[in-house]
């Protein structure tokens, strides 16, 4: 199991998911858009979950969204122990303006200031030579 020097989990990058990680490295948020019905699919899917079309194009999406829900973790559970250095971790479900939904860690914000409905903007944190992770901060 690959680990970063900090001992956090690294994704196993495949041909399916490489465009996402590479784009994040370039500070861009990309998702798979169905070339038939236009639905954005996330996390990466083998076909469009809406219409079953395998024609999915990676497209850049606007890095803005609204917090749909959030939970602040004060202990590491079911994840790699070195997340303890980041506690408390504010984990959100973000509804992106372009219509997809994703998990995102909220940074640059105190837990008691974070709230559902808060407008957020993506930023990117490198985790390896090949990959970065989108996180969010108040917009």
């Amino acid at each position: 199991m690959a680990q970063t020097p900090q001992g956090k989990p690294l994704p196993q990058i495949t041909d399916q998911t490489r465009p996402f990680w590479s784009a994040a490295k370039q500070r861009k948020l990309v998702m798979q858009k169905c070339d038939r019905c236009g639905t954005l699919n996330f996390y990466p899917k083998p076909w469009c979950v809406e219409c079953g079309n395998r024609g999915l194009d990676w497209v850049e999406v606007k890095p803005y969204g609204t917090i749909y829900s959030l939970t602040t973790a004060y202990v590491v559970m079911m994840n790699y122990p070195d997340w303890k250095d980041d506690l408390p971790v504010i984990m959100c479900i973000i509804d992106l303006d372009d219509g997809a939904r994703m998990y995102g860690q909220l940074t640059d914000c105190a837990p008691d200031k974070a709230h559902i409905g808060m407008r957020v903007q993506a930023h990117f944190v490198d985790i390896s030579e090949e990959a970065a992770i989108p996180k969010f901060r108040p917009a």
């Binding site: 994704p11 749909y68 939970t71 602040t72 004060y74 559970m77 079911m78 984990m91 479900i93 998990y103």
Partner: protein
């Protein structure tokens, strides 16, 4: 399919928190132990399942190729049909439906269904955490673990927080505390439960926050253990026991969306679909249900089930809990064995046996100190897995009765 099969035996091993010096049992040993208890209850032998059905719920600790056939080998049973479910906490109930369908079709007459896991002695990628290698493979993990999602506490915390947001004037922590306190009270009456010392709502409220709004006393404790049940045709059941417990109705759905696929309302579960199906098949109404055995790993999951089962309207779960007596003596008994919350969860895939086995225990009148007086109809849930940023993956509703 109404009342075409019945449960005639069941077993639940002692649970373990793996205290120093304790004998540590393997998954195979727990499976045999649970099956032994179920066979004894039914007055059957393992050889009665040669040429019949054998079901085994996916166990993380025992992950191997041909797992169900390997179990048949280790138990020395030669079944005609093997079932293996990997639906997490819905595995036990999903296999009950599969077994009922096979019995209905005449393929087999009886099925021995088992589950065991040892999450406290699992090979883990991180010492001290029940995080098996299989949980950390694949695209589903890659878009959660590296993002900082802290497993079930975070996933349920997100559902919980959204519920509080949508119903903020109607839900109080005390409501969830009452559910947690009730499970512990029932656990105090069940020698098999792992945590048996009662606590108060005040103690619940002062337990520390792990993943806001989820508190320590909201969280299911992991244990090692195993459970099993035997389901058979009504004809055979009547020969074996004078207390067969009939499967009156069921409903099942996986990957349910309430609303759009991309941005659904995560405070709803598939139970809003499975419950009407199960009640219709059973020919019973909500008021006929004497005891409810929800899937009870978090109090908020229980509250959402009360709503999605239709015992009250969405958003009224808090008021419902406040107005009802949830104990075995009360007007809406739930989680009479102490639930998974106080009883313990033998891994994420095996706790789903507990609602079935407690429902059958109650309907047979064998609940001892926690017996619901005169219980003849029970509802029980299977609830398995968590999706990406939504609610759970599989919902099963079962209606059981002591009369066909």
């Amino acid at each position: 399919m109404r009342a075409e099969v019945a449960i005639v035996g069941f077993g639940r091993t002692p649970y373990s928190r793996v205290k120093p010096g304790e004998r540590i049992y393997t998954v195979d040993e727990y499976l045999a132990w649970a099956a032994d208890l179920a066979l004894a209850k039914a007055g059957m032998s393992k050889n009665d399942f040669d040429g019949q059905g054998l079901g085994v719920a996916h166990a993380e600790a025992a992950h191997t190729v041909n797992w169900s056939a390997a179990v048949a080998e280790s138990l020395g049973i030669s079944p005609r049909v093997l079932l293996r479910a990997d639906q997490g906490g819905a595995s036990a109930s999903a296999m009950l439906i599969r077994a009922a369908a096979m019995i209905h079709a005449g393929i087999v007459d009886r099925v021995l269904v088992m589950g065991a896991d040892t999450p406290l002695t699992i090979p883990s990628i991180a010492p001290g955490l029940p995080l098996s290698p299989e949980r950390t493979r694949g695209v589903f993990w890659d878009f959660q673990g590296p993002f900082g999602v802290m497993g079930a506490n975070a996933q349920f915390g997100l559902v919980h927080a959204r519920y509080l947001h949508q119903h903020k004037n109607r839900i109080k922590p005390e409501h969830l505390g009452k559910i947690a306190v009730t499970t512990r009270y029932h656990a105090s009456l069940n020698p098999g439960a792992i945590y048996r010392k009662p606590f108060t709502v005040e103690e619940y409220l002062s337990s520390r926050i792990l993943s806001d709004p989820v508190r320590l006393l909201d969280c299911v404790p992991m244990v090692n253990g195993g459970l099993a049940y035997i389901v058979t045709s009504v004809e055979t059941a009547k020969k074996l026991t004078d207390k067969p417990i009939y499967l009156l109705g069921f409903g099942e759905v996986s990957n349910y969306y309430h609303g759009s696929r991309n941005q659904p309302d995560i405070t709803y579960t598939g139970f809003e679909q499975t419950v009407p199906e199960a009640l219709k098949m059973a020919g019973v109404q909500h008021k006929d249900i004497d005891v409810f055995e929800p899937y009870d790993d978090y109090p908020m999951v229980v509250l959402i089930q009360m709503e999605d089962y239709g015992f009250c309207k969405k958003g009224e779960g808090g008021k419902f809990v406040e107005e009802r007596d949830l104990t075995f003596k009360g007007d809406f008994p739930i989680s009479t064995d102490g639930g998974q919350l106080s009883g313990g969860q033998p891994g994420g895939a095996i706790g789903g046996f507990m609602p079935i086995i407690e429902a059958v225990t109650q309907l047979r009148g064998e609940g001892g100190e926690r017996q619901v007086k005169g219980a003849s109809i029970a509802a029980a849930s299977g609830f398995g897995g968590m999706t990406y940023a939504r609610n759970n993956r599989s919902c099963v509703t079962m209606i059981f009765g002591s009369e066909a």
